[in-house]
Point group: C2
Chain length 478, copies 2
């Protein structure tokens, strides 16, 4: 107990060292642990429960648009990976290769999937014959492997959990609509369920997915002003379909290639939750994904009737909320610190005097605001308080982003802004790769996206002085 108390006190402050603060939270809120397997992490029960809530909500959103889940092999034979040339160039350098099965050397080595486009294409070739077979709207929940040199829990690990949607459509228009539909699903999920404001936009060619015609992204700003790419949605056109010779008989009886999308969101989003909402006392969790939404702390629990009343309350609230009661013999102070570290949205205190007065005390995690709520009104008040909490953490994140978002029209301005703090910098851009690289070289920023909601920030590309065609948001990124 005293050990644990000490651990809570030991957390690094966000302002002192954001990276260490992050690692402290991951460890002390018991989200993840290291393993002896190079670059891989263990997602502990509390972290995994967050992922299960994310999965449940997202899976429901996917199914509501007609997507079905399937399971494909985790291995990709080398010859299959090589079928689409941009794709293999992008991924081959970072895959894990299986060369032996038991004691037998394989005639063809296989990689562990870094993503599953080629496996889906192989399957689609078998099952798509006619326009009546379209669209195919498939999704897979699984883990993938990309050989990373430097890793950080949730943000970048060699193996990570994710979902990958892969769809095939009759026309380019259908596929493009799907690409944007799923981008919007991700944005809605981030904003409405995780209380994380996101920028929706298009990636530049340099930053797009290997093999895609277009990559859309949702970009979130972390508390330290860095960007986190939080979900991507790709339009492939018929590039893979041609490489894999996937055809269908069209309505006009001619053979055509279908048009394809893929989209993915990973456990990285848990890193976004930590770094968007967390504070020096630990995690701050959005209610929809919090493993515990309300923790009941009985006060003076040795007194008659307290534990019974707390237990009855838990019973009642459990119908609608994920509720935990902590009736351990740890001190109240220890319990407060523990559930603040764990980011539990609401703490409900109930003691003898409360019971006598027919009320309880609710304390919000984000700002420690106290509410004295008559027990008779509790079930009406809880959704309101949770909604206020959710709005408050969203607003705080949006305010941080607003304070750290700037517009620049020259390279000097851009450099100055980027030097002063991590931030989003809006500029026009001519579209040339060399100019994009100049931003990196001179200001240390990369293009996060070309937002769907374009603004006009002057007329010229600060890198070359030529006319700016698109507004880009630049920043430093995880």
């Amino acid at each position: 107990m005293s050990d644990k108390k000490k651990m809570v006190e030991e957390i690094t402050s966000r302002e002192d060292d954001f990276a260490r603060w992050y690692t402290d939270i991951v460890k002390k809120a018991e989200l993840a642990d290291y393993s002896s397997v190079r670059g891989c992490m263990i997602i502990r029960p509390y972290g995994y429960a967050i992922w299960e809530n994310i999965q449940r909500i997202l899976d429901g959103m996917f199914k509501a648009c007609g997507h079905e889940n399937i399971s494909l092999p985790m291995f990709i034979p080398e010859s299959l990976l090589q079928k689409e040339k941009d794709h293999v160039e992008g991924f081959a350098p970072e895959v894990a290769w299986v060369t032996h099965g038991g004691s037998e050397k394989l005639t063809e080595r296989m990689c562990v999937r870094p993503t599953s486009e080629v496996l889906f294409c192989e399957h689609y070739k078998n099952i798509i014959h006619s326009y009546r077979d379209l669209p195919k709207l498939y999704n897979q929940w699984c883990s993938v492997v990309r050989w990373e040199k430097t890793t950080r829990p949730f943000l970048r690990t060699t193996e990570f959990q994710w979902q990958e949607g892969h769809t095939m459509h009759e026309t380019p228009k259908d596929a493009q609509e799907e690409t944007l539909r799923m981008l919007n699903v991700y944005a809605d999920f981030a904003e409405k369920h995780l209380a994380i404001p996101v920028l929706k936009g298009l990636k530049t060619d340099k930053e797009k997915f290997a093999g895609a015609q277009q990559t859309y992204t949702i970009e979130a700003m972390m508390h330290d002003g860095k960007a986190l790419q939080s979900g991507t949605s790709h339009y492939f056109g018929d590039g893979f379909a041609k490489a894999f010779d996937i055809t269908f008989q069209g309505r006009d009886n001619t053979q055509k290639h279908p048009h394809q999308t893929s989209w993915g969101l990973s456990t990285r989003i848990i890193g976004a939750v930590i770094m968007t909402h967390g504070d020096d006392n630990g995690l701050v969790l959005p209610p929809d994904v919090a493993p515990i939404q309300i923790v009941i702390i009985p006060v003076a629990q040795h007194k008659e009737g307290v534990l019974e009343a707390a237990g009855a309350l838990r019973e009642k609230l459990s119908a609608n909320y994920r509720v935990k009661i902590d009736d351990s013999d740890n001190s109240a102070g220890w319990k407060y610190a523990e559930y603040e570290m764990k980011g539990v949205p609401l703490r409900l205190e109930l003691g003898p005097r409360d019971i006598e007065a027919g009320q309880c005390v609710i304390v919000r995690r984000d700002n420690r605001e106290k509410y004295f709520v008559p027990l008779a009104e509790l079930e009406q008040r809880l959704p309101e308080i949770l909604a206020e909490y959710q709005q408050a953490i969203y607003d705080k994140a949006a305010a941080n982003r607003a304070e750290r978002t700037f517009a620049a029209t020259t390279m000097d301005e851009t450099i100055k802004l980027a030097d002063e703090q991590n931030c989003f910098i809006k500029t026009m851009w001519c579209g040339a790769l060399e100019c994009e690289e100049l931003f990196k070289e001179k200001a240390g920023v990369t293009s996060r996206c070309m937002p769907l909601e374009q603004e006009k920030v002057g007329d010229i590309c600060p890198a070359c002085g030529k006319p700016g065609k698109k507004m880009v948001v630049w920043g430093k990124a995880y």
Copy 2:
């Protein structure tokens, strides 16, 4: 459409060729497909939806006993796998080895997990320090890889989906109770949710899990009389804990080793569902895991009001059931065959005359029994009809098993029974490995288990004539 109709007709009869019948169903009910990845299968949406229902139910049962889900790496460094000697001997010959990451050769090769005991042990060593940290009740949903020479969809594939529970306890008694608790969870799940009667029993030393002290199993009998091991629960004692040097401070302040269990159930169980309940018209699914529980077929759907009435019915029933309406322009005959192939428990027909009479027709998948149900009584009758259906398919499976279960007191009797048909044969057994091997050699049967409910079948071991210590059930197995 005509193609599909033809496919339905083409299914092999169970009595002609059970193995081909099985493969036909897997393909024609669109449960799974082959891939170019050696020994791996694609679980298609309809098959995966069954697995999702299995996962949801089992996961709820696990959580009700206090288990938490976690996620461990998919790789195991070779030195880690080698820490427990029986375990590595059992698994090393059948693992896939990763030797390269990108273009770099690994200093130590890693296998893809065939099971995760060693990974759990490594983690447990880090997080178990005191008796207060016990029990640890963890579970993982994932896929594992075992290099198989001959494979069949669901029954035996190189990669397969499963759950693996791994728990640590303070005392041997706690761990042994957990082992049996989870065996009972599996048996209840099989019997109550899948309508598959199972034998609960202990494996012989020859058949137990590599590294376990005891392996318990649930054994089901398929329609063809062969056995399918459908779930196993292992007691490890402190063997792994000692190999991994996992200790905790006990209540008496001395350092002790915790006692361990593991238990697993895989997509193999879908094979059990197919081969227990299926018939010559296709799948027959237990309602709890059927992706579609009720299919509504509008009759004379071009007539006014039919589609509206069918749609309204679907809307109403969807609150409590997984309902599909098929208003395609395929013929009624095609639709009947299609949903019989897919094993949908109930077909609900609704035509103009039914609407006029205020009724509908319900047809059971298992026996085509028809029920004329007044629409006003539908919501009361449906649970009753589904319960009758569930009981009927369970009884049919139990009757098949009863008809094919025999007792023998001599080796000649055993050989004769095994020659006549696939069946369960009960005999006494002296406990010697040589005698167990003699059953295989002479009668071609292996020990399925020593049932928890022992009977006395004569006095002697038919193989050696010495006193029989345990009753064993023998059979041919998948």
